[in-house]
């Protein structure tokens, strides 16, 4: 594969969206393009978007699956607002995505699929390729399917298998267009189809045919290059939030020297964490796919009681079901990590779309005064470190911790500078092995004066036999108690011990300290908020950004930070849940900015909104 003789143009950033039918392999195509791009050293951010249906009827709008990849020669924070290039494998993919394109964008269409029948399926009476409706765009009609089949015919590949390889043709073409290194894709195909050499050959040939087509056709006159980004030295990989979260839990197990026990029930978009952890038994990790969400957390509590690092992973509907058991864990004062990969609700809602609307449930969704710690990762790779932090708090303070991820960070990906295991925090805690009371008695609720944590004495420890349960317990002894003063004391102590958890101060990004407006976010909105703030600063508009990882307890310096600005704006993918907390707790007139479309904020949306606040107050 030679470089060819076409004009080469330098770009600093590109956003490509691969779109097709859910059976067209668009997620795989996007993944491979991302991996090639990572090899080249660009900074990357990706966003898959797929229907909840496994195979919606072919060629229909609900069946469209897409994968967007943003890559640049500088560090970027989001998968990009609008694609510079759309690859549309059929009329439905074109129709579903064309509205997101800025004028001048390139559209590569698979003309083979633009049949009368397929056009009719999505309501086109005339082909948009012929009616002038795409005049604002640079349309590249490519007979993707038939060219793939043609290229593979000489290998003796059946037409059906040939058609299935058309995504590799598209990948080859785009790889040529953006001068991507392709060795990792060829290696990937060899591994993926190791048992089917015929498919390895077919997919490689399809990739090659796409590449060659780019070189020879007159439809593409320019080839682009995006130089590597200046990134911190080290070894990188690309990683999704769910992968990072699973690996973070493995790391938490290693660095706490405790066996990890995961109780989980399959639920979108959290199931991948269960899949990933089930592969790592050699680390002593046990995964139980329970009969329901309640059993999943119950088993995790049982394992924590026995001295494991108990974890349960789920999404919003699952957290609702787990509520009573979370309360039990609060009363038992046992370590437990509850991962909520949020999705759009209420009820089944939109399982494959994102939202941050479980914050209230995480903070308050239990009966009685039932406080716990809540933390949220800000990006895909941050899920790794957030998982370790959740485990650290759970173990040190003997409390359930809710980790609020969401579909956007869970399925999005970015490059990740690999940490060294030895440099990760040591989060080990000891078990109690000796009586702690007078006369050799064991007092299961006698607390550490500093952390207010109670002793963790596990079954199998001689002399410390004791009973715990959900009934209110007497301070120190843990005996059942209905004493009014004791209950008052225990309720206040459970609240105080969560408030006493040490969390880092929130940092403020305020380039020249001239900003009067602070934008405060939490969780996955970090990327678009950060990109919007950068854009404003580049235009000379000062703005400060603070982002919360710890939502309970809140950082100790937060009140001071908020008070330093004239205006505080809080963008959230809900109807103002953090804004309510901030307004109630700090008595400031924080301005909520909310979007609940199931999609992440675009940087442009936030930039426009924040520009208005900065200029007009």
């Amino acid at each position: 594969m030679s470089a060819g003789a076409k004009r080469v143009e330098q770009l600093d950033r590109v956003v490509i969206r691969f779109a097709g039918d859910s059976g067209d392999g668009m997620q795989l195509t996007g993944d491979r393009f991302t991996s090639e791009t990572a090899q080249l050293g660009n900074d990357i951010s990706t966003l898959p978007n797929f229907p909840a249906e496994i195979r919606a009827p072919a060629g229909t709008l609900p069946g469209v699956s897409s994968f967007q990849v943003h890559f640049a020669d500088y560090d970027i924070l989001t998968p990009g607002d609008s694609p510079n290039v759309l690859v549309a494998m059929n009329p439905a993919a074109l129709k579903a995505n064309v509205a997101d394109l800025p004028s001048g964008a390139d559209i590569i269409v698979n003309t083979d699929e633009f049949t009368k029948r397929n056009l009719a399926k999505v309501g086109y009476t005339v082909s948009p390729l012929e009616d002038g409706s795409l005049a604002d765009f640079a349309v590249h009609p490519v007979a993707l399917t038939s060219m793939t089949v043609g290229a593979l015919a000489e290998l003796g590949v059946a037409k059906k298998d040939g058609e299935r390889a058309k995504n590799m043709f598209a990948l080859g073409l785009l790889s040529w267009m953006y001068s991507r290194p392709f060795e990792s894709t060829l290696r990937f195909l060899e591994t993926k189809f190791a048992k089917r050499p015929d498919l390895v050959a077919a997919n490689k040939a399809a990739f090659q045919a796409g590449w060659n087509f780019g070189e020879t056709t007159e439809s593409f006159t320019v080839r682009y290059e995006v130089k590597p980004a200046r990134m911190k030295p080290g070894t990188y990989r690309n990683i999704t939030g769910n992968q990072a979260l699973a690996l973070g839990l493995v790391a938490a197990s290693v660095r706490s020297k405790l066996p990890l026990f995961l109780g989980a029930y399959p639920i979108t978009p959290a199931s991948d964490i269960l899949h990933e952890l089930s592969k790592h038994k050699k680390f002593g990790i046990t995964t139980v796919q329970a009969e329901d969400e309640i059993a999943a957390i119950g088993a995790a509590v049982g394992a924590s009681y026995g001295g494991a690092l108990g974890v349960t992973t789920t999404s919003g509907p699952g957290v609702a079901l787990k509520g009573e058991t979370i309360s039990l864990a609060i009363a038992l004062e046992l370590p437990l990590v509850i991962v909520d990969v949020q999705r759009a609700g209420p009820s089944t809602g939109m399982p494959t779309k994102t939202e941050q609307a479980d914050l209230n449930m995480a903070l308050y969704g239990r009966h009685g005064e039932a406080p716990l710690a809540v933390i949220a990762p800000k990006s895909p790779s941050d899920c790794f470190h957030a998982a370790i932090e959740a485990a650290r708090i759970a173990l040190k303070y003997r409390t359930p911790v809710i980790l609020l991820s969401d579909n956007y960070v869970a399925n999005g990906s970015e490059p990740w500078l690999l940490p060294s295991a030895d440099e990760l925090p040591d989060i080990s805690v000891g078990f109690t092995t000796e009586p702690n009371g007078e006369d050799g008695r064991f007092l299961p609720y006698l607390r550490d004066p500093e952390t207010l944590a109670r002793p963790w004495a596990i079954p199998g420890t001689p002399g410390l036999e004791h009973r715990i349960g959900g009934l209110e317990k007497a301070d120190k002894t843990g005996d059942i108690s209905y004493d009014p003063a004791n209950h008052e004391h225990m309720v206040r102590t459970r609240a105080a011990r969560i408030e006493a958890i040490e969390v880092p101060d929130v940092e403020v990004e305020d380039a020249d300290e001239s900003a009067r407006v602070l934008v405060l976010g939490w969780g996955s909105t970090y990327g678009p908020i950060g990109a919007a703030c950068r854009a404003l600063r580049q235009r000379g508009l000062p703005i400060a950004q603070a982002h919360l990882r710890h939502l309970a307890p809140l950082p100790a310096n937060l009140g001071e930070v908020l008070a330093a600005y004239d205006k505080v704006v809080i963008p959230e993918m809900n109807l103002g849940q953090l804004a309510h907390v901030i307004r109630a707790r700090y008595l400031i007139d924080a301005v909520p900015f909310n979007q609940v479309s199931g999609l992440p904020f675009t940087a442009a949306t936030l930039e426009n909104m924040l520009e208005d606040v900065v200029k007009n107050g």
């Binding site: 990989r237 050699k282 049982g302 199998g460 001689p462 036999e465 715990i468 349960g469 959900g470």
Partner: protein
């Protein structure tokens, strides 16, 4: 370390012989005077030393209800959890700690109503739990509503016109859930109760034990027909391994299998079946379980089914042991290897 033959697996043996007293906790027992739970508690405490397992390796996990106060009174490790969830919690504990003997104490409401799902799945998986279901056919702690084992038409506080629900037969349910060990006993028959506990403890995998328990406040005398010495002999069928199944004041009744029938029958005279709980086909134990109805007219007690198949704990532990044998290096080294197991690139 020597290990116990009871309850199998990796249980350590206690160096000193324990007594019933060693299993009494310092907590005041607070069931109603006359409650059948007292007799069960005494029988369990009396049986525990036989296990030969140190107290610290024994855990009682319960749900919610009168019976679920049980762990507080046992001087072992224990957890009084939430309604219906004890089998799930105990599953996590048992699977992650093969060195423990884990017992679940539950009631007819706890196990068969709110916790029905967890019970059937624990039995299906064959988790190494000993599940003691105290069946008094009534809700006691909430003061007298009908339960999923109450007889049809039961008049209670919540069903003044009589309940319209048909009851579960807990033995049939457990068998339907693929339980490998299923037994029934009675609170007041200490010797029988302890013999069933012994068999349950010896069983590898889930052991389900239904214990008929009298609630003298809300459902007094529910099991009188099979307890009263004047009626008992004609209604109670004692299942004994390898023995013909006969009963009656003069041993005049036999449990038989009429030709061409799916079920079993009680008849005067006739050729009695010889009881064998190890029959692999659950149809036999199920047919036995169907002899008893709400009226207790012919009620078998003893071990209905006792068969072997690998426990969930054993299978999971094996997977872990096999995987750990592949461990190469320190956990930190393995973690570094795992994190880098992807397409990576290096920036200098």
């Amino acid at each position: 370390m020597a290990s116990s033959t009871l309850g199998s697996r990796n249980l350590p043996l206690t160096p000193v012989k324990l007594t019933a007293k060693d299993f009494k906790s310092d907590q005041e027992v607070r069931w109603c005077p006359g409650c059948g739970d007292y007799a069960i508690l005494a029988a369990v405490q009396g049986f525990m030393p036989e296990l030969g397992i140190p107290r610290e390796n024994i855990v009682f996990v319960s749900g919610i209800g009168c019976s679920s106060r049980f762990p507080y009174y046992m001087n072992t490790y224990g957890m009084h959890s939430i309604h219906g969830r004890a089998p799930a919690i105990a599953t996590g504990l048992s699977v992650s700690r093969p060195d423990l003997s884990v017992w679940v104490v539950t009631g007819d409401g706890d196990a068969l109503s709110i916790g029905g799902n967890h019970l059937i799945h624990a039995l299906r998986r064959n988790v190494n739990l000993k599940i003691l279901l105290f069946n008094n056919r009534i809700y006691g702690l909430t003061k007298g509503q009908y339960s999923p084992t109450s007889e049809l038409g039961k008049i209670t506080k919540s069903t003044p016109a009589g309940s319209a629900d048909s009851p579960f037969n807990p033995i049939s349910l457990a068998l339907g859930a693929e339980a490998t060990f299923v037994a029934r006993t009675i609170d007041s028959d200490r010797k029988h109760l302890q013999s069933v506990l012994r068999a349950a403890a010896e069983h590898e995998g889930s052991a389900f034990v239904e214990i008929y328990q009298n609630c003298n406040i809300f459902n007094d005398g529910a099991f009188e027909l099979i307890k009263d010495s004047t009626t008992r002999e004609d209604h109670l069928i004692r299942l004994e391994q390898g023995q013909p199944i006969t009963f009656g004041t003069d041993n005049q009744f036999s449990v038989t299998h009429p030709a061409g029938s799916f079920g079993l029958k009680v008849e005067e005279g006739g050729e009695p079946l010889v009881h064998d709980a190890t029959v692999d086909d659950p149809a036999y134990a199920f047919a036995l379980s169907r002899l008893s109805g709400s009226d207790l007219g012919t009620t078998p007690i003893g071990v209905f089914r006792n068969v072997q198949r690998p426990s969930y704990d054993e299978l999971i532990t094996k997977q872990l042991v096999d995987a750990k044998a592949q461990a190469d290096g320190t956990p930190e080294q393995m973690l570094d290897g795992l994190l880098g197991k992807a397409d990576t690139w290096t920036i200098l």
